[in-house]
């Protein structure tokens, strides 16, 4: 105790004497306060001026402010709906919710597909196979340097240029590609399927519990019980068992050509298809670069040390390289996910009815410009914030635990 008291490094650092704030220009604290006051005053004055102008302009144009218009019924026809919506009787609010759901439909599917495709391309760039490495490099280089809007328009023209339903390109007798979109078979949904899905969720929980138990046993005894056969059995066996017990119903709703159009089956509209294809391909080229640089950021010595320990390539990648690469990969990946979500607003250019498209239609119908744009911004800010909160949580979870 006494030693530490005499050690000058451990003595509390001496604080500079705290002087009283002097009302003189030579006191830096006073200067800072004055400068901040000036900046705030200027900004307040600008805002005051703009708000004044806006109020005068709104009065001149007889536009009522406020969000009351959301309750009135909208006449906007919406092609693709997730929840029931009827133009004419549903409110503007319902139309906006439809828009948000359509945006999420593109963003969520897009993020998943872009991650998968981008990872494949990024690993391909590191392949020892010269042809594969060159082709993936060209893919990345070309797609990154062309505006995403141009790519979207191009895919849209391509999908619209498909033949009419009667001459549609068919894959087997189930999938049809035509200028009305891509027709796919749908499963006729029955209660048994819901129960099977529930069984799948239960299986996930059981697998996680088993994995934890295996980890605990390994910590205690050094012997690790096998996880993957149990997981496989649970994840596949349980839902199949539930489904089989309930009579194993399986009917496909196949699309069929009737007259000039298709009946039955599910549809991927040209708009949704073009938007998804364009966003996924464009974003995957960025993700590929992130994955590549993340893997390259892991020092060569890590591979060699893992090899020296007798791990083979797959385990080296999974246990040594990937956990370290992920730390480099996650932050830029987050901003790519955010970019994809924000780029989905380009849907308005090809007529897919996302939130921007619906809000701008409402804005044109009602003249509520300020409210319309505020809604668009609020929706995107919420989505962006949610993604970054989740990714920050995930990043903190896998981050290196410092001393």
């Amino acid at each position: 105790m006494s030693a530490s008291a005499t050690d000058p490094r451990l003595a509390p650092t001496r604080q500079a004497p705290r002087r009283k704030l002097q009302l003189s220009w030579s006191d830096p604290r006073f200067r800072n306060i004055v400068w901040q006051a000036i900046v705030l005053a200027v900004i307040a004055a600008i805002l005051w001026y703009l708000v004044g102008n806006t109020r005068r302009n709104l009065e001149l144009r007889h536009i009522a402010t406020g969000f009351g218009f959301l309750e009135s019924s909208s006449g906007i026809p919406i092609g693709e709906t997730v929840v029931p919506y009827t133009p004419g009787s549903s409110t503007y609010l319902r139309a906006l919710i439809e828009g948000v759901l359509n945006t999420l439909k593109v963003a969520v599917v897009g993020v998943v597909l872009a991650t998968v495709l981008g990872t494949i391309i990024g690993v391909g760039r590191l392949s020892p196979n010269w042809l594969l490495a060159r082709l993936t490099a060209i893919y990345v280089e070309v797609l990154r340097d062309i505006p995403v809007l141009l790519q979207l328009l191009f895919w849209y023209v391509l999908l619209q240029g498909l033949p009419a339903p009667r001459q549609s390109i068919r894959i087997g007798d189930a999938v049809f590609l035509s200028n009305r979109g891509i027709k796919i078979p749908l499963l006729v949904w029955e209660p048994a399927h819901t129960w099977a899905l529930l069984g799948f969720v239960v299986a996930i929980v059981l697998t996680v519990l088993w994995a934890r138990r295996a980890k605990r046993l390994q910590d205690l005894t050094g012997q690790k019980p096998l996880v993957w056969p149990v997981a496989l059995g649970l994840l596949i066996g349980l839902p199949v068992l539930v489904w089989a017990v309930l009579g194993a119903p399986f009917t496909l709703d196949l699309p069929a050509l009737k007259g000039f159009n298709f009946q039955g089956g599910g549809t991927i509209t040209p708009e949704y298809g073009a938007l998804l294809t364009g966003l996924v391909i464009y974003t995957s080229s960025y993700i590929a670069e992130i994955v590549r640089s993340g893997i390259q950021a892991v020092a060569q010595g890590q591979w060699e040390a893992a090899q020296a320990l007798g791990l083979h390539r797959g385990r080296t990648l999974r246990l040594v390289v990937l956990p370290q690469a992920l730390r480099v990969i996650i932050p830029p990946m987050t901003s790519q996910y955010l970019n994809l979500t924000k780029n989905s607003s380009l849907a308005v250019a090809i007529g897919y009815q996302d939130i921007v498209s619906i809000a701008s239609t409402i804005l044109n119908q009602t003249g509520q410009a300020i409210e319309g744009i505020a809604i668009i911004m609020a929706v995107y800010l919420t989505i962006s914030l949610s993604i970054s909160v989740f990714m920050n949580w995930y990043n903190a979870r896998i981050a290196l635990v410092g001393r």
């Binding site: 102008n53 806006t54 141009l150 328009l153 023209v157 308005v348 250019a349 804005l363």
Partner: protein
């Protein structure tokens, strides 16, 4: 000297040639294309697809393509030779007919040398700015003079050039104007915001800067452009209504400013703390410290990421299509809508993509080169 080499030569063993199986194209192919059965399978599959696709493209774009069409009496029949090969061959005649419109929009035809010269000036400006010999104060004057000359060329009205109203401009010059003026104004804004965000003494300014950056980065550019086109007129006093291009330009500047500010902040953070403390110890004022010590070092570090951000803006300027500004992409889309040439949009999209690609690829190569040079200096 001579004796030394002689001694060395005498002691050097006769080099054996490596076995023939380790050198030459065959060995290279065995190593890099057929290293394992898995690699061989990938090579064969990719090679097959590549050859098939490349041949298909070659036959469409070159072998069966129509390069020019004779002038027909009825303009609607001009494209008939193209329609006969539609689906089999490309119709490059549409580019031959429309390239002036795609590049310069509806700028008066006989005066299109002016936007053409402006485009060349822009490219010259980029080339000069990219050269490290010119990275000094004079570059600022070069920028101001060049941008002024470009404005003069586009508007005209003096020196015997006719006045051309801004709503007649279009095509590539608009894209370059939006990108370059956007950068020129957004960059100083970004530096100020980045400094504000880093400031410890001025909490109110810091909050403002953080709010600005996070708000702009959280919303898509489209929403800002919509704001510029429908909300901005409401903000202005009666009678004052700036034109559409200027409003879009302001939106792009505000957007670019937030992203560039984050890049600059990265540079400020990467400087060692000792640089700040040393400047303080010398008794420099805040602005002396910032302008003479901090910024010259911080900005130098962030030049490669700045170029990458600039590539992003260059591509993002194409979004003005949605609010109806006549940039390169819009000009291309309008050209496609010409009833004479309907159905040949693929060709036009390919040419547009090639133009954008040329600009962006040049910039990305440049940024990678710089990164390598800087890396070499650091790792000496």
């Amino acid at each position: 000297m001579a004796s030394q080499t002689a001694v060395l030569g005498a002691s050097a063993p006769v080099r054996e040639q490596p076995p023939a199986s380790l050198v030459g194209p065959w060995a290279w192919a065995r190593r890099n294309l057929f290293g394992s059965w898995w690699s061989s399978a990938v090579t064969i599959l990719l090679g097959y697809l590549l050859v098939r696709w490349a041949w298909g493209f070659f036959s469409w774009a070159v072998l069966h393509a129509v390069w020019s069409v004779p002038v027909a009496a009825n303009p609607l029949e001009t494209a008939i030779p193209c329609r006969q090969v539609q689906g089999v061959g490309a119709c490059w005649a549409v580019i031959g007919d429309k390239w002036r419109f795609i590049l310069f929009g509806s700028y008066p035809y006989n005066m299109q040398w002016r936007p053409a010269l402006a485009v060349l000036l822009f490219i010259g400006l980029y080339a000069v700015s990219a050269n490290r010999k010119f990275w000094r104060k004079e570059l600022l004057y070069i920028w101001i003079v060049t941008l002024a000359v470009i404005a003069l060329l586009m508007w005209g009205g003096v020196l015997g050039m006719d006045y051309v109203a801004q709503d007649q401009w279009g095509g590539l010059p608009i894209t370059l104007i939006l990108a370059t003026f956007g950068l020129a104004f957004a960059f100083p804004l970004a530096v100020v915001v980045a400094l504000g965000r880093r400031s410890t003494q001025l909490p109110a300014v810091k909050v403002l800067c953080v709010g600005y950056v996070e708000l702009i980065r959280g919303v898509p550019l489209i929403s800002l452009l919509f704001m510029a086109s429908v909300m901005f007129p409401l903000f202005m006093p009666e009678g004052l209504n700036p034109d559409k291009l200027l409003r879009a330009q302001v939106a792009i500047i505000l957007f670019a400013g937030a992203y560039l500010a984050e890049v600059v902040r990265g540079g400020l953070q990467s400087l060692p703390k000792g640089q700040y403390e040393a400047a303080d110890a010398l008794g420099l004022s805040y602005w002396q410290k910032t302008l003479k010590i901090i910024l010259p070092q911080a900005l130098r570090i962030v030049i490669p990421p700045l170029v990458n951000t600039f590539i992003g803006f260059f591509k993002d300027t194409s979004l003005v299509l949605i609010i109806g500004i006549f940039d390169l992409l819009t000009a291309g889309k309008v050209a496609m809508a010409d009833p004479v040439w309907t159905g040949f949009s693929t060709e036009i999209y390919l040419v547009l993509a090639a133009i954008y690609f040329a600009f962006c690829y040049a910039m990305s190569r440049y940024s990678r080169g710089l990164e390598r040079q800087f890396g070499r200096a650091r790792n000496r």
